[in-house]
């Protein structure tokens, strides 16, 4: 305990000294430091800050020092996070390597793979993307068909992935491939390869809401060394499931953590667009819809708090991630639908001078919200999981 306070003092002092002033201002999504071969740092300070943190392994605070990590205990890592927050230090590096692949490699990778990849993730030299979904394998991810055929010392990969976030900007991919056609889950392997390999191509996906980080990724006889297989052959599904848990938790946060803080509360929007009468929002029906929505959101946030408190108390109910994913995304969609009703004509703009920037952004966000209940496991899949795992209803 005393050591921890010692650690806190040292950390605070180091952060004070090493975090550039410009890295202690609020950041937007556009300021995210992804790293990678082709990444252009928005400023010299950003590069410096990332480098200083990476040098101490504090971009991956709990990873072993042997792989470039910080080697911190989880208590120390928590202190680091608190101090960074207290001093408004920006996140120095954010990547799928740090959040997804790294933990998987630590758990399932062999020594050579850890040595090869983890330090580059910590440094932000290599940017990773995730090759999971396919046109025919969405909710039924295990139905994937991208094949990796044994060709002696390497695999030959052929197939078509979709929803590969930032595939066009990434250096390497961690990818689910089929290595046995006769077993569904038991025929999937987890491969790593360089996106510059011959036969890899990508195409960005335009969404109904406009440009997106998503890509389609095509593999045409891509050669992948066998050393790049993580875990055993045909055992990739276990790794995939572990990674999906992370993803689901990330998406359910969409609904309640409005990171940009730009969205005006519905009541404020309503005052502006619907006017007031007797000091209240003039349209009493929409006023009630707004209040009900805000109350449900409060109820949902209380549930997140309670789940966290119960988890600490060891009373977890299970399948909470499915519940949060389901409710958070449905509630978020409902918020945008309500916003559309309030904004009326103002909510229907696409571009050009007839609409405010806020209006145009909200149109896009409304459209984008429709994907929340599809990506990372559809609402239907979450309800199935709850019915089966929590309620014990039969198949």
């Amino acid at each position: 305990m005393e050591n921890l306070e010692h650690f806190r003092r040292d950390t605070a002092a180091w952060l004070e000294q090493n975090c550039p002033a410009s890295m202690r201002t609020p950041m937007s999504e556009a300021d995210t430091i992804w790293g990678g071969r082709r990444f252009e740092y928005p400023s010299e300070d950003a590069r410096l800050w990332k480098e200083r943190m990476a040098e101490r392994g504090w971009t991956a605070p709990t990873w072993p020092k042997a792989y470039g990590g910080g080697g911190l205990s989880s208590a120390e890592a928590a202190v680091l996070k608190q101090e960074m927050r207290r001093l408004n230090c920006r996140v120095p590096l954010f990547s799928f390597g740090l959040g997804m692949l790294g933990p998987a490699l630590l758990e399932f990778g062999n020594e050579a793979q850890k040595q090869q990849h983890l330090p580059h993730i910590v440094n932000g030299d290599i940017r990773w993307c995730q090759g999971y979904s396919e046109p025919g394998a969405g909710s039924d991810l295990a139905g994937l068909q991208t094949s990796a055929v044994d060709a002696g010392d390497h695999f030959v990969v052929n197939g078509h992935k979709v929803w590969t976030s930032y595939a066009d900007k990434s250096d390497w991919i961690f990818c689910l491939v089929r290595t046995d056609k006769n077993h569904k889950q038991g025929g999937i392997s987890f491969l790593l390869f360089d996106m510059e390999s011959a036969g890899v191509s990508t195409r960005p996906i335009q969404l109904i809401s406009g440009a997106s980080p998503f890509c389609e990724t095509f593999f045409d006889n891509v050669k992948v060394p066998k050393a790049n297989l993580v875990g055993e052959l045909n055992q990739g599904w276990t790794i995939a499931k572990r990674l999906l848990q992370h993803e689901r938790a990330m998406i359910s946060e969409i609904g309640f953590a409005d990171p940009s803080g730009q969205a005006a509360p519905l009541a404020q929007l309503a005052r502006e667009y619907l006017g007031e009468s007797h000091g209240r929002i003039a349209d009493r029906v929409l006023r009630a819809d707004i209040a009900r929505h805000e109350m449900k959101t409060q109820a949902f946030m209380a549930t997140l708090q309670r789940a966290s408190a119960e988890a600490k108390a060891g009373q977890s109910v299970g399948a909470t991630s499915s519940m949060f994913k389901y409710y958070g995304t449905e509630n978020n969609k409902a918020k945008f639908e309500l916003m559309m009703k309030i904004a009326g004509h103002h909510g229907l703009g696409w571009e050009g001078p007839g609409f405010s920037e806020r209006d145009l952004t909200s149109t896009r966000r409304w459209l984008r919200s429709k994907g929340n209940s599809i990506e990372g496991g559809t609402s239907e899949v979450q309800l199935n999981v709850i019915a089966k795992q929590v309620l014990g209803l039969p198949d």
Binding site: A267, A270, R271, R280, I281, R287, A288, I290, A291, R292, E294, M295, K296, Q298, A299, F300, A302, T303, Q305, R306, A309, E310, A313, Q315, V317, M323, Y326, Y327, E380, Q382, L383, N384, I386, A387, V390, L391, G392, L393, P394, D395
Partner: protein
């Protein structure tokens, strides 16, 4: 906020479950109904509750109570909700007692609290005069002059016909809200028992020129604030009871879905029903969080009236909506047997609507929440 029960509350809940499941299953309510029991609840069970200290949970130790926070009562109410148990716990030991505990000191208050803790007295709050909950829309008046008199008519008075005293809301000559404590036996007080759909107690109470002396007033300049807080605590108490009822109805229905076969399969295997069950589960989880949030705030000594009001309105809204959904789905999913009086699930449906209306349904609380937020 802690959001979880502490160890003592868990123990209280376990004790409550044991007693109530044994002594007051749904069958007990059926018997009270079929026998048209005079008191409308089981007096010997009530005395057992008193012995366990539940009547005095909110009452300071100096008056013979336990001096605990409302969270301890919430877990008992939740267990009562599970079996639809009838008792004066909510009406007298929570709602009326909270008012008396928090009003200004006086002899009448001291005496009444001691009697309440000892289970020798029951107090009912008489407030409603409209079809829907409207605590400030009242016609009951307190005449001015040396000898004030109370005149008016209150309905939906829970446990009114067994109450020894009433706390009555009224308007004085300055149109100010006042709360007065009136003896049921007082001249000019007349009580008419109503037979409700849920077989719980409710009465219409008439006050005809009932003489009121200054000691009978609860609160003074702060009456509105006192009344509001008491209403909010009582609403949270209802929410706790509703949580018990909704959870129980849901669990019974879930068990039925796993047991009933049609077309050669367990009906719980139909995805249409599964998704509806999963959705109910999520709403119930939200409901539980709202109840816990409200009582955590009270247990931790939260004293901001607006914050309490918001928590209470959110809880009463969420529970009204959820209990409405669950009670309807429970009957539908039970099918024909759910429509019979012989089956117990219908009791949950009947009780549900009463609990929804008491101190405001979702429509009321949505409006109030908007009001509290200034829009």
């Amino acid at each position: 906020m802690s959001m979880v029960l502490n160890a003592e509350q868990c123990a209280t809940q376990a004790a409550a479950k044991k007693l109530i499941q044994a002594r007051s299953p749904v069958l007990a309510l059926r018997k009270l109904r079929d026998e048209k029991a005079d008191r409308g609840f089981d007096e010997s069970l009530w005395q057992q509750m008193v012995e366990l200290g539940w009547a005095g949970i909110l009452i300071p130790e100096e008056y013979g109570g336990l001096g605990l926070s409302p969270g301890y009562l919430s877990v008992v109410l939740e267990e009562c909700g599970r079996t639809l148990a009838a008792s004066p716990l909510w009406s007298s030991s929570l709602f009326a007692t909270y008012l008396l505990v928090h009003c200004a000191d006086s002899a009448i208050r001291r005496d009444t609290l001691a009697a309440l803790a000892a289970g020798q007295c029951q107090v009912a709050v008489a407030l409603e005069e409209r079809a829907r909950h409207a605590p400030y829309d009242i016609d009951t008046v307190l005449s001015a002059g040396e000898h004030s008199t109370l005149t008016g008519r209150k309905h939906f008075v829970v446990n009114g016909h067994v109450a020894d005293k009433f706390i009555v809301s009224c308007r004085d000559a300055h149109n100010q809200l006042r709360l007065v404590l009136v003896d049921a036996a007082h001249k000019g007080v007349r009580v008419e028992r109503n037979w409700m759909v849920d077989s719980h107690n409710s009465a219409t109470v008439y006050f005809d020129n009932v003489t009121i002396t200054s000691e009978q007033f609860l609160g003074s300049a702060d009456t509105v604030q006192l009344f509001d807080s008491a209403l909010d605590v009582a609403r949270l108490g209802l929410a706790a009871e509703m949580l018990g009822s909704a959870s129980e109805a849901f669990e019974r229905t879930l068990a039925y879905l796993k047991e009933r076969e049609q077309f050669g399969v367990i009906i719980g295997s139909f995805q249409g029903l599964k998704h509806r069950a999963a959705n109910m589960f999520v709403e119930l989880e939200l409901a539980r969080s709202c109840v816990r949030a409200g009582f955590s705030y009270l247990d931790e000594g939260g004293s901001d009236a607006t914050q309490l009001a918001k928590l209470a309105s959110i809880a009463k809204m969420q529970l009204s909506q959820t209990l409405n959904l669950v009670s309807n789905e429970s009957v539908q999913m039970h099918g024909g047997i759910g429509m019979t009086d012989e089956h117990e699930i219908g009791f949950f449906l009947k009780r549900a609507r009463v609990l929804e209306q008491l101190l405001g349904d979702d429509v009321f609380h949505v409006d109030r929440y908007a009001e509290l937020n200034g829009y």
